[in-house]
């Protein structure tokens, strides 16, 4: 009796299971296979792990790893802190709160490509609005995207501007769900606003903060579109990320090699993100 019942319920899972298999599991497995071939779309030749060896020999790979890591830590770190500060501001009793919340969230809604193109004009060293404004104040602005040492940070700033609204919204949702009783308790004990923030808000928005950290960190690790629109990984290779290196290999027609790159990126994201997730959720407090 028990076994028929469970078979019956598996039937309901079957449609979703088939879709999952065809559209998610199968392509993943196929990509693992093609990462071990020399592939021209019409023809392939099995070459074992040569693609992985070739990928690790890529001269710009060190830059790519370093930039990817810098970019992920810088953007997610800033979003976590700045988003929290903005959320505190926007949940306080200031005027036109709703309007300000929308303003913070707007950049998230704009297409990344449009943001990238706009900012690459704004950041032009001599004609861009940013440096023109700085020049009016008597400051010689840097060559934001053209200076090899600066390019990746300039793109990171734009990413933060664009993504901080999303982090803020998650924080706001977390803060709104904290019952007012806790704050009253602090009032009764004679605590000030800082104590409320430190002892009530901060521990209780931990789940929201963890989501922000993990989503923005993974987002940073696999960023591609913004860097590609703004610098194409340049000047030279100086703002290449792992994802842009993979894309350039794909553009060159090295399909097997770029698939191997994606497998490596998948592993890196998994290896970094899962322990981070476990570490963060262990310290979560239930309401």
């Amino acid at each position: 009796m028990k076994s028929t019942k469970s078979l019956y319920s598996y039937g309901f899972l079957l449609p979703a299971g088939i879709i999952f298999f065809i559209f998610f599991l199968l392509p993943t497995m196929v990509s693992f296979f093609f990462s071990m071939t020399r592939w021209t779309l019409t023809d392939w030749e099995f070459i074992g792990l040569d693609n992985f060896i070739m990928f690790f020999k890529e001269s710009s790979l060190n830059i790519g790893f370093r930039n990817t890591f810098i970019y992920a830590v810088m953007t997610s770190g800033t979003k976590v802190v700045l988003g929290l500060l903005l959320a505190v501001l926007l949940t306080s009793s200031i005027r036109s709160k709703d309007f300000l919340r929308s303003v913070v969230f707007f950049p998230t809604l704009i297409s990344t490509i449009a943001v990238g193109i706009t900012f690459s004009y704004l950041m032009h060293p001599s004609r861009g609005l940013i440096n023109t404004a700085l020049a009016a104040l008597g400051i010689q602005g840097p060559n934001w995207l053209g200076d090899p040492a600066l390019a990746i940070y300039s793109v990171g700033l734009v990413d933060i501007w664009k993504g901080v609204g999303f982090a803020t919204v998650i924080y706001i949702a977390g803060m709104m769900s904290i019952p007012a009783d806790y704050y009253e308790a602090v009032d009764i004990d004679g605590g000030n606003a800082f104590r409320k923030f430190w002892h009530i808000t901060l521990p209780l928005i931990r789940p929201a903060m963890n989501s922000v950290i993990i989503l923005s960190f993974i987002g940073g690790l696999r960023t591609f579109d913004l860097v590609w629109t703004m610098t194409k990984g340049g000047p030279g290779f100086s703002s290449d990320l792992i994802a842009s290196i993979i894309y350039k290999q794909y553009q060159g027609g090295f399909y097997g090699l770029s698939t191997a790159g994606n497998v490596i990126l998948f592993v890196i994201v998994a290896v970094l993100a899962f322990p981070l997730y476990r570490f963060l959720t262990k310290r979560e407090v239930d309401l």
Binding site: N143, P207, L215, G234, F237, G252, G253, A273
Partner: protein
């Protein structure tokens, strides 16, 4: 596990799946419905419609004019489909070929890129067509595989030349340099006079390759076996002094600070404006940009000249040239006879006339018996002596099927001082390895 944790898990799983999806989904969906439409139209009327796939970077005025003439004369309508240029376009072409979704006619590079498409599988063999006699052999070589010819020239030859502003040259009393040292000396004087000696437009990074690529005439003259040895892994840029010199020339421009200060933020259009408006003296580039300059600064065209990239000796002085893209007929096209007629008309005297009326050539046409019109750009006229005296050589990509995809980033690095000429050459040597392995060449 609380509900919140499950929700976080769910969003994380989604995020990971998105990574996989975004990695798989870059190919894009290219409209491929034209086949059905053209079939319907053919049924309705006697008129034949052919589709032509072309990239959106090439100026199509000339091709459009020939197509209009073909419609009048042969009652064959041409429907032009646009695709992106560069490596992105290569992927569109490869995907459409692999999925039997190619247009009837295809405009695409000649030389190594075309040969890498496996043409014998996809394109109509034109070797024995009588109209192929009109085409110069030097072009046929670039669209032939195993002795079979697959394409006609889709435009004029293009030089990899140094465009220069003649007003600045006459103001400072300079003459066209015959050696690299003379060029550097000219640059110093130009810089003293307050002009930018050489424009770098590294924001459009492909333009940074020209000093290296346009030096190939000199490499070819001094080391004639380089192309073949390089193809079969017997010679390297870094260890062949004549070839390494191409990278060193680029580095010397950077060492002497001859590029504009904001070169890394300068785009092609900015560069053309600087040259035409007389703010800068030199721009090493493909002469196909003359069409772009003419579109914005038609009155300046007489002020712009062209010379070949100098070698180190005055007696070696010739122009590196690029063959135009070819037009090829799809083997699985809807109407191969019509496609052949289309190609025949394109290289006929009437076709060439229609082309030249609509578009000024950026160099000589690789078609027999074509006289360039009198109002040809001054820069193109200055290129003609190189052709007449036989001092031209096709670029390396027409001799060898391997061209590394990262050359443009490497040349930006050399031109901005991130790496030296020797480091750049060594990086390029390891970059071409990927291409050679992908093509399955011997010796790699």
């Amino acid at each position: 596990m609380t509900f919140r944790r499950k929700a976080t898990w769910l969003s994380l799983t989604l995020a990971l799946l998105l990574i996989v999806l975004s990695a798989c989904g870059k190919g894009g969906n290219i409209a491929g419905t034209s086949g059905n439409e053209s079939a319907k139209e053919t049924a309705d009327t006697e008129k034949t419609t052919l589709t032509l796939l072309i990239d959106n970077q090439t100026a199509i005025d000339g091709i459009q004019a020939v197509a209009d003439e073909i419609k009048r004369e042969l009652n064959i309508e041409t429907k032009i489909e646009l695709r992106p240029g560069g490596t992105e376009g290569d992927n569109v072409v490869k995907t459409r070929l692999a999925t039997s979704d190619m247009a009837d006619l295809m405009f695409y590079n000649s030389g190594s890129l075309f040969k890498a498409l496996n043409p014998q599988e996809y394109f109509v063999d034109l070797t024995n067509e009588p109209f192929m006699d009109n085409v110069l052999d030097s072009f046929k070589d670039t669209v032939s595989v195993d002795g079979k010819v697959y394409g006609i020239p889709g435009g004029s030859t293009v030089g990899g030349a140094w465009l220069y502003n003649k007003k600045i040259y006459s103001e400072l009393g300079l003459s066209v340099p015959k050696t690299w040292d003379e060029l550097l000396a000219n640059n110093d004087k130009i810089k003293e006079a307050g002009y930018t000696p050489v424009i770098g437009s590294f924001s459009d990074s492909w333009t940074s390759q020209l000093v290296v690529l346009a030096d190939y005439y000199n490499v070819h003259s001094l080391a004639p076996n380089f192309a073949e040895d390089y193809t079969y892994n017997k010679a390297k840029y870094a260890t062949t002094p004549e070839a390494l010199r191409s990278f060193e020339k680029l580095q010397s421009l950077r060492d002497k600070k001859h590029f504009n200060d904001d070169a890394t933020a300068t785009k092609l259009e900015d560069a053309l404006a600087m040259l035409a408006e007389g703010k800068a003296a030199h721009y090493p580039i493909l002469t196909l940009v003359l069409t772009n300059i003419n579109a914005n600064y038609p009155e300046m065209m007489d002020d712009i000249g062209a010379f070949a990239q100098p070698s180190d000796a005055a007696d070696v002085n010739g122009l590196t040239i690029w063959m135009p893209g070819g037009i090829y007929a799809n083997k699985e096209g809807s109407n191969i006879d019509a496609a052949k007629k289309w190609l025949e008309f394109f290289v006929s005297p009437e076709g060439v006339k229609a082309y030249l009326t609509a578009m000024k050539p950026e160099g000589p046409m690789p078609i027999k018996g074509v006289e360039l019109p009198d109002d040809t750009y001054a820069a193109v006229k200055e290129m003609l002596p190189y052709f007449e005296s036989g001092n031209t050589a096709p670029a390396l990509e027409f001799y060898s099927p391997i061209k590394g995809p990262s050359l443009e980033q490497i040349t930006v690095e050399v031109a901005t001082g991130i790496s030296s000429a020797a480091e750049g050459a060594a990086k390029y040597d390891s970059d071409v390895e990927k291409q050679a392995l992908q093509l399955g060449l011997e010796g790699w």
